[in-house]
Each structure stands twice: as structure tokens, then as C-alpha cells.
């Protein structure tokens, strides 16, 4: 299940719903990404995405993870638009019978979302704006899958 949205969401509300609907799972893992203000300079972040491709790309990731780790449920929420420091950017939740599968599937989804879902982050600070650069280590992280 996938939501790409501009609106804010509460990770706790999502986790409660997800856990209630996770079927015969014994293990639920969630990841929540939050806007960080590294140096105290960040005013806000702007996230741009590619409507249409975003849904297809993440849908394929969810499908692959669900098959590979035999997930009983899987959910991804990713925001776009303007976000202030401390706001929740995105969330992944996975449910499986066993903890290792739930953890691995969540990490797999995060690694793919980082480098293969069409989102671009721009940091707008008091001293100017710049596009967040991709990191080689995020590209390398895909190799383990």
C-alpha cells in the first residue's frame, strides 16, 4: 500500500493502523524519515517528484519486497512539497512472521527509495538554496540486494 502526498501525517497513527491490519505477523518494523537541520541553517526543504513514475517505481519495490520476504503487509508513505525541520518526510512499514524478514524488507525498501524512487530534495537555508546531492554510499547500499 502506497501513498505519495503533500499532506503531513503522524507516524504513530500509521503504525497503529498498520499493526492492526498486519494479519498473522509476529514482527512489524517501521522506518520514519525526519527533516534534519544539520547546521542550524535550514529554513525548509522542498521535495520534487515525478508523478506517475513515483507510484510505478515504489509499487514495483513494494511488490518485490513482499514476494522476497513473504510479507503479510507493507506500506510506504512519501511526502513531497515544502517541509520544515522536524517534519516527517516518509515512512516504511513491513510485517512478517519473523523479525529478520521484516527488518531486511524495510532496509531493502529504504535503500531503493533513496536512490531509485524519483524524488529530489532541495534544502532552502538562510544562506541560499541547494539540491541535496546523491551519495556514493547510497548507491553502494543497493549492491547487497
Amino acid at each position: 500500500m502506497l501513498q505519495v502526498q503533500e499532506e503531513a501525517f503522524d507516524p504513530g497513527t500509521v503504525l497503529s493502523e498498520f499493526t492492526a491490519g498486519a494479519g498473522p505477523a509476529g514482527a512489524v518494523v517501521s522506518f520514519t524519515g525526519i527533516v534534519r537541520d544539520n547546521g542550524g541553517d535550514l529554513d525548509h526543504m522542498e521535495i520534487e517528484h515525478y508523478p506517475g513514475m513515483t507510484e510505478k517505481a515504489i509499487g514495483a519495490m513494494i511488490h518485490a519486497a513482499t514476494q522476497r520476504w513473504n510479507l503479510t503487509a507493507c506500506r510506504v508513505i512519501h511526502r513531497f512539497g515544502r517541509l520544515a525541520p522536524g517534519e516527517t518526510i516518509m515512512m516504511v512499514a513491513t510485517a512478517s512472521r519473523h523479525r529478520a524478514a521484516a527488518f531486511e524488507a524495510a532496509e531493502y525498501l529504504m535503500d531503493y527509495l533513496k536512490s531509485r524512487a524519483p524524488f529530489w530534495k532541495k534544502e532552502v537555508g538562510r544562506s541560499g538554496a541547494c539540491w541535496v546531492e546523491s551519495r556514493q554510499q547510497d548507491e553502494d547500499a543497493l549492491k547487497r540486494w
Binding site: 513514475m53 510505478k56 531509485r116 546531492e133
Partner: protein
């Protein structure tokens, strides 16, 4: 052949438009990039370093040597930074 070409992030800012419809006879993505580059300096600037760019054909990631047969939409953008 008519194609929708779309741009994202700093590529969009540098070219100055989010997308456009182009008439092209290019056979592959690289051919399309060559045509765009010849148009105007802002395109030449934007496409100068292809290793810093990614491309999607019909909303699927592709290589720069991917053929354009069957393509309706080609997107150019920097490496993605989701999550």
C-alpha cells in the same frame, strides 16, 4: 515522432521549463540529447555531463543508449535523493 520531454530538479531549473513536446527523428536517448544540446546554450549547459544525469523512458529508468521506439515520454533528471 512527437515526444514529451520532462525535466526535474536542477535540470528543470537550468533549462527553465518543466517539460516540452518535441518533434524528433532521434533513434535513441543519446540522439535526443544531441538534438536538444544543439538547440540553445542552456540545453548544452544542462546536458554537459551525462554521468551526472539519469534518464527514464515511459517512466522507467533507462540508459542513454536506450532506443526511442515506442517512447511517449522521456525524462531527464539528476540522481534521485528520496527516502
Amino acid at each position: 515522432m512527437k515526444l514529451d520531454v520532462v525535466y526535474f530538479a536542477w535540470l528543470r531549473e537550468r533549462i527553465g521549463i518543466p517539460g516540452e513536446t518535441v518533434e524528433t527523428e532521434a533513434r535513441d536517448v543519446a540522439g535526443l540529447v544531441a538534438e536538444l544540446t544543439r538547440r540553445e546554450e542552456r540545453y548544452a549547459q544542462a546536458f554537459r555531463d551525462l554521468s551526472a544525469l539519469r534518464v527514464a523512458v515511459n517512466q522507467e529508468l533507462a540508459d542513454f543508449d536506450a532506443p526511442l521506439s515506442g517512447a511517449r515520454e522521456v525524462a531527464f533528471f539528476p540522481p534521485m535523493t528520496g527516502g
